[in-house]
Amino acid sequence: MVLSIVRWVKGYLRIRAEGYSPERFLNACRYRGIDLWGLKSAGGAYEMYISLEDFRKSGTFLRKTGTRVKVRRRHGLPFFLYRFRRRKLFFAGAFLGASLLYILSLFIWEIDIEGNRERTDEAILSFLHTEDIYCGMASGDVDCSRISEELRRKFDDFVWVSAAVDGTKLIIRVKENEVGTEEKNVSGEERGTDLTAERDCRIVSIVTRKGTPSVRAGAEVKKGQILVSGRMDLTDDAGEVTGYRYTQAQADITGEYRISYEDTQERSVTVRDYVYDRGSQIRQKEYFLRIGAWTLTFGSVKNSYPDQEYHTEEKQLFHDSAFAFPVFYGVREAVPCSLRKETRSDGQLREILSARFQRACRDMEKKGLEIVENDVKIYTEQNAASAKGTVTVRGPVGTASDSQILPEPEAAGRTERED
């Protein structure tokens, strides 16, 4: 394949060798390192392919071997160019195309970010933009080591960053710290954190792993009250506090609290009836192409029905690539319909409200809350029905906040003694 392309570019000939002993011509070619291919014996003569360059060389020994050579066909780029030498616009176009390709290859057209899980592509790209790294920049201006350095500085959870230019694509590979940010806080040795109550509740259970618990199971606590303190008192033999040590308090604290629930449903609802024509629903579609503020549409959504639903679906061209063109395309659809009021019965309202309440309960359970009790009741009125009541739930209530740093008691104690 490669060889045939090289031959085509250099140009080759189909020649016919005739004479007393054309074999001598073949052997002379071989002796001088001239490659022949596609040999065919035809009526006492030989036809073969020879490259243009070798054909010129063969002139010297043609006479010696007593062979007459006729050129049958010419192949390849040199002959192609010669045949079309007068077509100036063709050459201008080829030159323009080649130069355009070259010029376009001087820019970065795509930024590919790999390995990021916590940080989104958008966050990284917008940061890179502030550092003057963007799609369409000259690829010569890309300083890969600077990019990786800046990224590491900006995002401290990146433990490893590499940037490389591959053609017109800037590839940024990152490795995030999977252990999390907990480790980072440890470095701030003196700063401790407490666990405080997120809301008013009754503590059901408390299991402390780190820190000093300040409440017991069964205690009623207020919002913001310290549940587990991150400060540990250091005492001497006499039981006097000599100093404090601060840690990140860690505990599983479950509290029980009430959540009020309210939901209403109107008795009359608007129902849409779609218009059918010979069994199929009437839909009017319009395809459009939008470039900036300019829109080109095919079809129309105009109709004479008073009420209708409009659906629009719009997509951006090359949306996935980092270099987004302001070209959108999509389809608009008008579905004619008529509106009417419908009244729900008590049973239907009850069904709707209880289904919604069940869904709310499921959502709470998904958040890790355990429902202990619920006294939500459904009340029906003339125009509407409502579900009202409270749900008693158990769930985690501790939230981290910075510990208050106290002055060291040791110094204070000594001064007292000296007095």
Partner: protein, 91 residues
């Protein structure tokens, strides 16, 4: 010739290198590649005579063609019916 052959065997050099013997590789009846040859003596669609250092090789068949003919190797395609070795009479 004999001595060189024995020396080549003792030194474990392939014989085709030491004695410039022709190497033929045939793929079915359709394709033969030949190395270590001197030249073509005769070529028609039915017969190809190739001279080598140790004699002449005659390939007979139908629609014989030479796909390429270079200093190192040649490749013959077509339908080969016989490969024949003949002792060289003259150089």
């Amino acid at each position: 010739m004999l001595l060189r052959g024995r020396m080549a065997d003792a030194a474990e050099i392939p014989r085709e290198l030491a004695l410039s013997l022709p190497v033929l590789r045939a793929v079915g009846r359709q394709e033969i590649r030949i190395e270590n040859y001197r030249g073509i003596r005769e070529y028609t669609q039915e017969l190809i005579r190739i001279s080598t250092k140790s004699g002449e090789i005659r390939l007979t068949g139908r629609r014989l063609g030479i796909e390429y003919y270079t200093n190192a190797e040649m490749k013959i395609t077509g339908l080969v019916s016989a490969i024949e070795y003949r002792q060289q009479k003259e150089g």
